[in-house]
């Protein structure tokens, strides 16, 4: 049992999930079908977990060292987070979104098999690695989703049929995403303290993560106290997303990037 078996397990998981997604979409029309979607998601997930457990036993160490293994964990945890969020907030599309993201990571692994052998420097070999990266990834995903909702809000108000529910959905996503962003930031701080003895060094990525955090902080405070100024709120949300994008992708291209421990390119 090694990565050689991955195509077998992942294709079954992927197949079950895609089938589940179809049932989920149809369940918007016919509510009872959602149960079949759950079942398919869970079966796919069980398949994936079987693979992770067997790989773990085979390697005789937690498979958390390489990039490929990290992606495997994203794929394993995203459905879990999707389900928890679904149970709590009942956003069906969000469940679909997390399953799709998980499937995407399986696909990336499927297409880049050689990444499994990538070496990992000692500082990265930490139990904080997975939670830090995972909650960040998740918060990026949720906050990106909130921006999609904001674009819908803009379009609606342009058309003159803006509904406040749209903004409330964006709020909820921002709260969830912001909570995860905070966790990512703090887990990173705790990890850095264990590895290097500093919990915060104003590394470029840290600077931009902080700015992203502040951006959504402004949105949350503004929304909380100015419930009816929807246009302004949407603008703040859009600006915060721009900062998020810089943090996510843009940092590598800034003049400050070469001093960062967070750049993954050689």
């Amino acid at each position: 049992m090694t990565w050689i078996d991955f195509p077998f397990y992942s294709s079954i998981t992927g197949f079950l999930w895609v089938l589940g997604l179809i049932f989920l979409v149809v369940s918007y029309k016919k509510q009872t079908l959602i149960k079949i979607a759950y079942l398919l998601f869970l079966l796919g997930w069980a398949m994936l977990i079987t693979f992770v457990v067997k790989l773990w036993i085979e390697l005789d160490r937690p498979p958390m060292r390489t990039l490929g293994e990290t992606r495997l964990w994203y794929a394993t945890f995203l459905p879990l987070i999707g389900f928890i969020t679904y149970i709590r907030w009942k956003y069906k599309w969000f469940l679909a979104y997390s399953i799709l993201m998980a499937a995407m990571f399986l696909a990336i692994n499927y297409l880049n098999p050689e990444t499994y052998s990538k070496t990992l420097m000692p500082a990265l070999q930490s139990p904080w690695f997975i939670p830090h990266v995972l909650v960040y990834l998740f918060s990026y995903a949720v906050l990106a989703a909130s921006s999609i909702v904001a674009i819908k809000g803009w379009y609606d108000s342009y058309k003159g049929n803006f509904n406040i529910e749209t903004l409330k959905l964006a709020d909820n996503l921002v709260y969830i995403g912001f909570a995860f962003l905070t966790l990512g930031l703090l887990f990173g701080a705790l990890w850095a303290k264990e590895a290097w003895g500093h919990y915060w060094t104003w590394d470029p990525k840290e600077v931009w993560a902080f700015l992203t955090w502040m951006g959504y902080l402004i949105y949350i405070h503004y929304r909380h106290f100015h419930n009816h100024k929807t246009k302004q709120a949407l603008t703040i949300l859009a600006l915060a997303f721009v900062v998020l994008l810089v943090c996510w992708f843009g940092v590598n291209y800034l003049p400050v990037a070469n001093t960062s421990v967070h750049t993954y390119t050689n």
Binding site: T115, K118, N172, V207
Partner: protein
């Protein structure tokens, strides 16, 4: 003014209110904020921030308690004053968050190192964290944060639970982090195998005698296998191989590089060249070597030869496969490095432990980290560099951090209940 008029004026307060009239809103908040920022930049240009003193024990404790006490008294006794009321309202918070964001954005764009640009130097835009403008705005931010925390704590309601966790947590983490820098001690110490060491060096390169000594019994590095790479002969840089990662050298494996099929026929982790071939040896500085065969898929020609990554003692060896390309072996990367040490105290105690990256050891208020080694020597390094960090304010900072973690989980679960229930 009769009651009706009063109601009218409150409803339309936004339109009738003049600047600096009660209550202060966004215009005044940003006016004050920009004023603070300008003051800060003036101080930066004319006074400079090189002389900002970091306070240390016990004065930082006095400052912390004094600050909280002052905030408490301000809230209790002067809550009806315009300034205090403003500080507990959201325009003051939002303006300070926005201005901090703007200042930190400078940090995210301008490298924080001495600059050739005089404007950047004079305004201190390359040292934001100690910039007067930043510190003044941060002070206003903390004061807002402190006052609203006190306000919500005093009017305690269970529904405020998440709010208090987040706000008090942030207040604690930030103030303790800043005040704690004066007491933060960060030392590094060089250990050589089988020699006791007790002289550490601080950030200013001062030598310091520790109350205990370290004895390095053994320094161990585990390495990954070296990697195979195809390099461009004209530039000497690694050819992209279609964006794939480099392959680890493993015996009997076959890999593809562009049009070349490379098979590792033999791999020796420690070897030296003897005449035509490499032989395994157990000698300091003996680098890894591999015998590879390279098949050109286009014309089926095969080339065989030894390659080696080289070490501090022996030079590397590449295999030229045509005019354009050569195969090389990269220097092995460290997988894990650790120091097997004894700590010897003046009382004659002897504590044995193994230090490893990500696994620091706590001893007498210090956290001891495995920092580095002699990377020229690689796995043959006799030197291990440790770092000793004493951060007495850490428990307070962690209290703040864990309150915020709890607050974040609360936030995830409750979501935006307030706007949702309206």
């Amino acid at each position: 003014m009769n009651l009706f008029d009063k109601n009218m004026s409150e409803n339309t307060i936004k339109f009738q209110r003049k600047l600096w009239e009660n209550p202060w809103g966004y215009a005044e908040s940003f006016f004050i904020g920009f004023g603070l920022m300008l003051t800060g930049f003036f101080l930066e240009v004319f006074a400079g921030s090189e002389h900002i003193v970091t306070v240390s024990y016990p004065y930082n404790i006095f400052i912390l308690f004094g600050y909280i006490l002052v905030l408490f008294v301000l809230y209790k006794k002067f809550a009806d004053k315009q300034l205090i009321r403003w500080l507990t309202k959201v325009p003051a918070s939002i303006s300070s968050i926005v201005l901090i964001t703007i200042l930190v954005m400078f940090m995210g764009i301008i490298p924080q190192v001495p600059s050739t640009n005089n404007l950047i130097n004079n305004l201190g835009l390359n040292r934001i964290t100690t910039n007067w403008a930043f510190l003044l705005i941060l002070f206003q931010f903390l004061t807002c944060l402190g006052l609203i925390s006190i306000k919500r704590i005093l009017q305690f309601k269970w529904s405020n639970f998440g709010f208090i966790l987040n706000h008090v947590g942030l207040f604690l983490a930030l103030t303790a982090g800043m005040l704690g820098t004066g007491d933060l001690q960060r030392l590094s110490i060089n250990l050589y195998e089988e020699k006791p060491s007790w002289i550490a060096t601080d950030a200013q390169n001062n030598q310091l005698e520790l109350p205990f000594a370290f004895y390095l019994k053994d320094f161990v590095i585990e390495e990954y296998a070296p990697k195979l790479a195809l390099i461009d002969n004209s530039t000497g840089s690694i050819s992209q191989n279609k964006g794939n990662n480099l392959y680890l050298v493993e015996k009997d494996e076959t890999y593809f590089f562009n049009n070349f099929e490379v098979t590792v026929e033999d791999y020796l982790p420690n070897a030296i060249r003897f005449g035509m071939r490499y032989e395994p040896v157990n000698e300091i500085g003996a680098p890894p070597a591999a015998f590879i065969s390279v098949k050109n898929i286009e014309n089926d020609s095969i080339q065989k030869g030894w390659i080696s990554s080289g070490s501090f003692r022996y030079s590397y060896e590449s295999l030229k496969i045509n005019d354009a390309y050569s195969m090389v072996m990269t220097i092995p990367e460290a997988k894990k490095f650790s120091s097997d040490i004894d700590i010897l105290t003046k009382e004659g105690e002897r504590i044995s432990t193994v230090l490893e990256v990500n696994k620091p050891f706590k001893f007498r208020g210090y956290k001891i980290y495995q920092l580095s080694y002699d990377d020229k020597m690689g796995k043959w390094s006799n030197l291990s560099v440790l770092e000793l960090v004493k951060d007495p304010w850490l428990p307070l900072i962690y209290l703040g951090i864990f309150m915020m973690i709890a607050g974040a989980i609360y936030m995830f679960w409750m979501g935006n209940k307030i706007t949702k229930n309206e």
